[in-house]
Each structure stands twice: as structure tokens, then as C-alpha cells.
């Protein structure tokens, strides 16, 4: 039997009779034969691989735990379509070089861009490389067209802040992610808009920016509590920071909700699912795993049809009421 027939039988082409196909498949099963990945990729000219480059800052050396859930969502879709997932942690200064290499060597058929900044260089660069990509998040100051999947950060944080104001809070802190990262900027905008619409003016010191770690949540909460007029409510960008905030409140013998209200953004991470009937934290919730799925779908569609117009998918976070928000105590 010829190689051609075997190849067609295995890959489901119609040119081969059902009978022959069965014979081939049985023989393949018997010898545990599977077409060699490397040869197949060379012959087809496709890498059948999606790259996820996660940039790691030299100073911080952090790996954002939301990647685990995002990738879990994406990975399932890739598997369904026969794609592999290539994960690479690169020092952030090497990031574009890495993309260029992936493209030049054609190691991957597409990439996902994580944590875009407000003025994200990578997007124009990737467009010029002609490598299909999807951005998880958006980049406010980037005129280019590109595929993206994002949460409505501005609106979410507007609503969160608005809710606190409606409860009677007027001194509200924001413990946000790193300055310059797009989602953090949009969240600050939403927070500021709510204050403004309610004629509340607050000093810049009520907003902090840092990597979203537990220790940073703690440290920044203490800083806010040490202000001359400490906030009675705090909005924060991550449930991990919320845990740090909680620790700061404990240390100051303040009770979450009663003494200080907290609203957090909740990515619905599998290890921190706040799924009680009444959640611990009032939260703007949006599953990052779902975002991973959608990003993967979008990328696979773009790879299948590269002439496709870039698309943006905007997810709306739910505002979930928990027990961490109450009206402010009278002073």
C-alpha cells in the first residue's frame, strides 16, 4: 500500500475507500503508528502551535497567577483543534526580539499578547511581522487594528465606585495594578469618573499602583489607612491584593465591611473562587478562564482566515454583592 493512501486514510480524505481506510487504521492502531509531528509540520508548512509569551520583569520576577487560569481556558480550545501551546517566559526587554524570532523561524502560527500597556509597541510590531495574534486586554493609545478580548474595566470600576458612593462613602481608595498597564489605567478612569460625577475630590495619594501581590495589597492598604483622612472604602484590582488588604485591616483591628468596605476585581481564579451564597468580597467578577477560551477561538479563526478583519470582544464584569461592603460607620 502506498504512502499516499495511508496518509489520506489517516487524515480523512475522501479519495480513499472506507474499506481501505479501515485496514489502514487498524494497522496503525496495531503498531501504535502516529504520523511524526516534525515531518508533518514541515510538509504542511504549519506549526500547529500557538505561542504565549509572558514577559517577566527582571526586578520583580513575578509570574501572574491569572496566567494559569487564562491558559487553562485557551489550552482546551487549542487541544480541540489540534494545536499545541508553546509557553515562554521572557525578560520584558527581549520581548519583541522573541516575537521576531518566532516569526522568522515560523515556530508558531500565532501568539497571544498578555498584559498590554497603554501605549503598546508590540501591537504595531506584530502587525508588521504578519503573525496572527490576539491581545488579552487592549491598548488605549494604539491606533492599529488588532484582535483583542477584554473586560469593560472602566465601566466595572465606575460601577464599583458608584456603589460605594451610594452606600455613603466619600473617601474611597484605589489599590491598583502597575501604572501604565492598560487595564489599570482604565480602572483608574472608571474610579475617577464616579468620583467626579458625584463631585468628590480626592488627593492622588488615594490611588496606589503596584504589582498585584498579597504583600503589596497589605502595604498599600496600610499606606491608605495612614492618611490623615483614611478611606472608609477601598477598591482593588485583584483578589490576591484583597487578601493583603484584609491583613492590613486585621492588624489595625478594623473589620472588613463594618469599618472599611472593600470591592475587588475577581478573575474567578480556580484557587480563590469566592462562591459562597454570600461571597466574602463584593466584586466585579469576570472569568479569566473564559477570556482565555474566547481569545483562543478568535486566534484560531484568524489563523484559519488571515484576511479576516480584526475583532474586539468586550466582556462585561458582573458586579457581585458580597459582605465586604456596608455603609460607612459614623466617625
Amino acid at each position: 500500500m502506498s504512502q499516499t493512501t495511508v496518509s489520506r486514510a489517516i487524515n480523512g480524505f475522501p479519495e480513499v475507500s472506507e474499506k481501505t481506510r479501515q485496514v489502514v487504521l487498524e494497522a496503525a492502531a496495531k503498531h501504535n503508528y502516529k504520523p511524526n509531528t516534525r515531518a508533518r509540520r514541515l510538509a504542511t508548512g504549519k506549526s500547529m502551535t500557538i505561542g504565549h509569551l509572558v514577559s517577566v520583569s527582571k526586578e520583580y520576577e513575578l509570574v501572574n497567577p491569572i496566567f494559569a487560569d487564562f491558559i487553562a481556558g485557551a489550552s482546551a480550545r487549542y487541544a480541540q483543534s489540534g494545536y499545541d501551546l508553546l509557553l515562554s517566559l521572557v525578560p520584558d526587554e527581549d520581548e519583541f526580539t522573541s516575537y521576531k524570532e518566532l516569526a522568522a523561524r515560523s515556530t508558531v502560527d500565532g501568539v497571544v499578547v498578555h498584559a498590554p500597556r497603554v501605549d503598546e509597541q508590540r501591537i504595531a510590531q506584530l502587525n508588521s511581522l504578519n503573525l496572527p495574534f490576539v491581545v488579552h486586554g487592549r491598548s488605549s493609545n494604539t491606533p492599529e487594528k488588532y484582535n483583542w478580548v477584554d473586560v469593560n474595566n472602566e465601566r466595572s470600576f465606575f460601577r464599583a465606585t458608584q456603589l460605594l458612593i451610594e452606600l455613603g462613602h466619600t473617601t474611597i481608595g484605589l489599590i491598583n495594578g502597575m501604572a501604565g498597564v492598560d487595564f489599570a489605567v482604565r480602572r483608574t478612569q472608571g474610579y475617577l469618573r464616579a468620583l467626579k460625577e458625584n463631585n468628590i475630590e480626592l488627593a492622588n495619594a488615594y490611588v496606589t499602583h503596584s504589582e498585584m501581590t498579597e504583600p503589596n495589597g497589605y502595604k498599600n492598604a496600610l499606606a491608605l489607612l495612614d492618611l490623615p483622612d483614611p478611606p472608609t472604602a477601598i477598591v482593588t484590582s485583584s483578589i490576591i491584593m484583597a487578601h493583603g488588604i484584609k491583613r492590613a485591616l486585621d492588624e489595625r483591628e478594623l473589620k472588613l465591611g463594618r469599618d472599611v468596605s472593600v470591592i475587588t476585581h475577581d478573575d474567578d481564579l480556580s484557587y480563590f473562587r469566592d462562591a459562597a451564597a454570600v461571597p466574602v468580597y463584593t466584586a466585579t467578577r469576570s472569568s479569566v478562564r473564559e477570556a482565555g477560551r474566547l481569545s483562543a477561538d478568535l486566534l484560531l479563526k484568524t489563523i484559519a482566515d488571515p484576511s479576516r478583519d480584526p475583532e474586539g470582544i468586550l466582556l462585561d464584569a458582573d458586579l457581585i454583592l458580597g459582605s465586604s461592603t456596608k455603609p460607612p460607620r459614623l466617625r
Copy 2:
């Protein structure tokens, strides 16, 4: 200039003169030429890829956040040696099938096995596939030889429990990971040995097993606190669970340390680094990122020389004193 010369110039073979090499390299740089990954892999017969299969249980759908840090450690080493990292989340019932496929198609040159069970089937299976691998963890009941990198879990939890006993605690709970997973079993053994050596007998109810999530830490802590004779100290397997335990203590208006002592295992996750001068939690600490690095080194060595005898690397966790452990209060 012939293909041969170009190939040799780029890959640093000595058969080409320095002058020619420079000419080639300059031309390559000018046209941004990089050898095609697919073609190179087919020609060399190597995939230059390491697979990490993370099994995801259908019921839980959890992604252990320690993978993020483990992989961060491993990824750096792979990059140094020119290897790519293939990440695949597979439903646990399909796991062996996935390994078999990777081997048959020779998609990867080696794999890392995560979260081995006490009686881990995958090890014998992988040995039979002749696919180089390293286990992160060990498998107590597996007679096979294999490469592994593990923490001294038994000893760590023995020391942790011993410390609590020395402080005067006699009723000590253990909030552990899933039953059957090797590290959890060894930790229970260490805990039980310390109790036994100090002639302390406790009912089975003082040990709980579950996925290491925050909500499970909370739930299991409440269960322990509801026992007729509640523990004055708790040992737990993850800093994420420790946060859940803390929440349970808050709810019961018990103070961490003063009312209930807690010792946790601390993987030194980048988002939960407990690095204050006096850490919040007394902990058995061992960097999972370092484990990732060591696993990668071991795997790459094995791939380079497949006849190499399997090696085991045993890391000792540090016992770090924090402020979550105090002598028990008098009742």
C-alpha cells in the same frame, strides 16, 4: 555560497573559516534570516521541546497556581538550552494516552510529570515508552527507577508538628492536600510521626484532605474548630489554604497565633511571598521555582545522555519562624 556552508556557519561548526562565517552572519542579519524551526527539527530528528502535562480533574477543573512558578523556573533553563516548553492541560483520565501520543509522534524530547500519586502508574508507563522524564515529587509505592526532584515532605511536617508540640500544643490539626497524592501522604506521615513520638493520640477527624484552595482551607478549618475538642494549632499544606484558615479564624473571632497557631508549607510563590522581617506565617519553605530549575536541569541532562542513571534530588524545606505560632492559651 552553498547551503552547507551557510548551515555550518550559522551553527558554529569549525569547518568554515572565520571570514566566511562573518559574511554569512551579516547576510543573515541583513535579511533577518533564521533557520526554519520545522525544517531544522525534521532534519536533526530532535523536537527541541519539553512537554509539561498538567492533569485537570473533570470535577474540580482546578489549575494549581504553583505550576506558574514551577514553570517559570524550568522555562528559564529550557530557553538557555534552546528548548521550547509545550504546555498541555489534559483531563486526568486521558493522561497516559497523551504521553503515548507525544512519544509516538515524537512531539517532545522529554516530559515533566506533575503531582505524582503514591502509586503512580505514569512512571512505569513512561519508562516503557522510553521517553526521558522527570517527576516533580516522588511516588512512594513505585519500584521503578526514575528522575525526581522533591522536597523532604515527611521531615518538614515532622519538624513543623514537633515545633508546635514543643510550644505546648497537644491538639493539632492537619489541613492537607488531596488524599493519595504523594506529597500529601508524606506530610501526613511526618505529622503522625511527631504525634506518635510524643505519645499524642488524635482522632482521624483532625486530618482533612482536599484540593488546596482558599475556600477549602476555610471550610476545613471550620470543621476542625467545630470538633468537641478543637485544635489549638493547625498545620497546612499551602499558603493559599492558610488564607482560608485565617478567614475561618476571623469569623470565629480567634486570633492567628494567640488563639490558634498555624504552620503552613510555603512554596514561595511570587504573588504570595511572605518576606517580611518577621513573616506572617511560620512555614516550611521551599521554592517551587527552584524545583522547576532543578527539574529542567535534570531533564536536559537526561536527554543529552539517555543512558544516564536516574537521579533523585531531595530538597530540604527551611523551617521559618513567623508570628503565627505561639504557645497555646490556657483554656
